[in-house]
């Protein structure tokens, strides 16, 4: 029984499948899908002693990055994790109260006074 010629030459695919770090979950707990530019920040709340779930290394990385306010897109880029995965992990941490949403971006039009500030900022670049 030959094991076949080149089984080890084939591309094995990603070592860890993208949603393995979320335990296979593709939907954020709580159901809210945070926008790419929603800004979050660590709340400073300590881990609960009886933390039922336990954070994975990826959870902790996100929590560390949130010591400064960060947008969801920043977190995905900085961790190199897929956006969908970051949303799932972020929702876990938010549910535990250790990250809070600073600015929730909705579908509304931006305020004119802030747009004018952006305009001034661009001109000054």
């Amino acid at each position: 029984m030959s094991a076949g010629g080149n089984w080890d030459a084939r591309d094995p695919g990603p070592v860890v499948r993208p949603y393995a770090v979320t335990g296979g979950r593709t939907e954020p707990a709580g159901g809210e899908v945070l926008d790419l530019i929603t800004i979050v920040v660590a709340s400073g709340k300590a881990a609960a002693a009886d933390d039922p779930m336990g954070f994975t290394p990826e959870h902790r990385r996100i929590l560390r990055l949130c010591q400064q306010p960060a947008a969801v897109a920043d977190l995905a880029s900085d961790t190199g994790l897929p956006l969908g995965v970051v949303r799932v992990l972020l929702a876990d941490i938010i549910l535990q109260g250790r990250i809070t949403v600073l600015q929730r971006r909705g579908g509304e039009r931006p305020r004119a006074d802030l747009l004018k500030e952006v305009l001034h900022g661009l001109r000054a670049l």
Partner: protein, 207 residues
């Protein structure tokens, strides 16, 4: 304007904005974003949800088929409370769901056009018109590409009279900056006029 209660720290609430940079494949979206900000990669794995997705997946790993969508984005910070994000649309136009994600709540869009392949930006023009996302058209002047008067491009794309179209060089920081300024001015003007008329007869294809 129903300003949402700020959950930020007292003082300067953070405000983030996003601009979508769209256009055909290879038209210079990443170049434009990179000319004015540091480009960073972003990717996502979208689950192709269809049959077989249930709560009884006990394997603990995602067994669904996923597809990778790669994008990039840039960030410009003004002062300590304003952040502008520039998102390039994924190169492959089949990822329309990603366009929805990027356009949701976007301040506006820049559609980059290449006069040699003007038809490539038709889908983007249609997309932002239908969703009433304010946009400008920036004609990227590639070396060796024929130069056209922006007014001719405006006509060829059947743009609304108020939609700006300008020439640009996506490699040049100042040119990229002018395009963004033009967009924000257009957004402010559109908001002030309080209208964006439904329009557009069927465009006759150039390409």
């Amino acid at each position: 304007m129903g300003s949402a209660p700020s959950e930020g720290t007292p003082g300067e609430p953070l405000a983030a904005f996003k601009i979508v940079v769209a256009g055909g494949f290879g038209v210079g979206k990443t170049t434009l974003v990179g000319a004015i900000s540091e480009v960073r990669p972003l990717h996502t794995e979208e689950a192709l949800t269809s049959a077989g997705v249930g709560l009884d997946d006990l394997s603990g790993v995602a067994s669904k088929t996923t597809t990778t969508v790669a994008m990039d984005f840039g960030r410009i910070t003004f002062g300590n409370h304003l952040v502008l994000y520039l998102f390039g649309t994924p190169g492959q136009e089949r990822f329309w769901f990603m366009w929805d994600e990027l356009s949701y709540g976007a301040l506006g869009a820049v559609i980059l056009a290449d006069t040699r392949r003007l038809g490539d930006c038709f889908p983007a023009v249609d997309y932002f018109e239908k969703r009433r996302v304010p946009f400008v058209v920036a004609i990227n002047c590639f070396d060796g590409a024929p130069r056209y008067d922006p007014r001719d491009v405006h006509i060829a794309l059947d743009l609304d009279p108020g939609v700006p179209a300008v020439l640009c060089d996506a490699r040049q920081r100042d040119s990229a900056k002018q395009v963004l300024i033009m967009l924000v001015e257009h957004v402010l003007a559109s908001a002030a006029a309080g209208r964006s008329k439904p329009r557009r007869a069927q465009a006759t294809g150039l390409a």
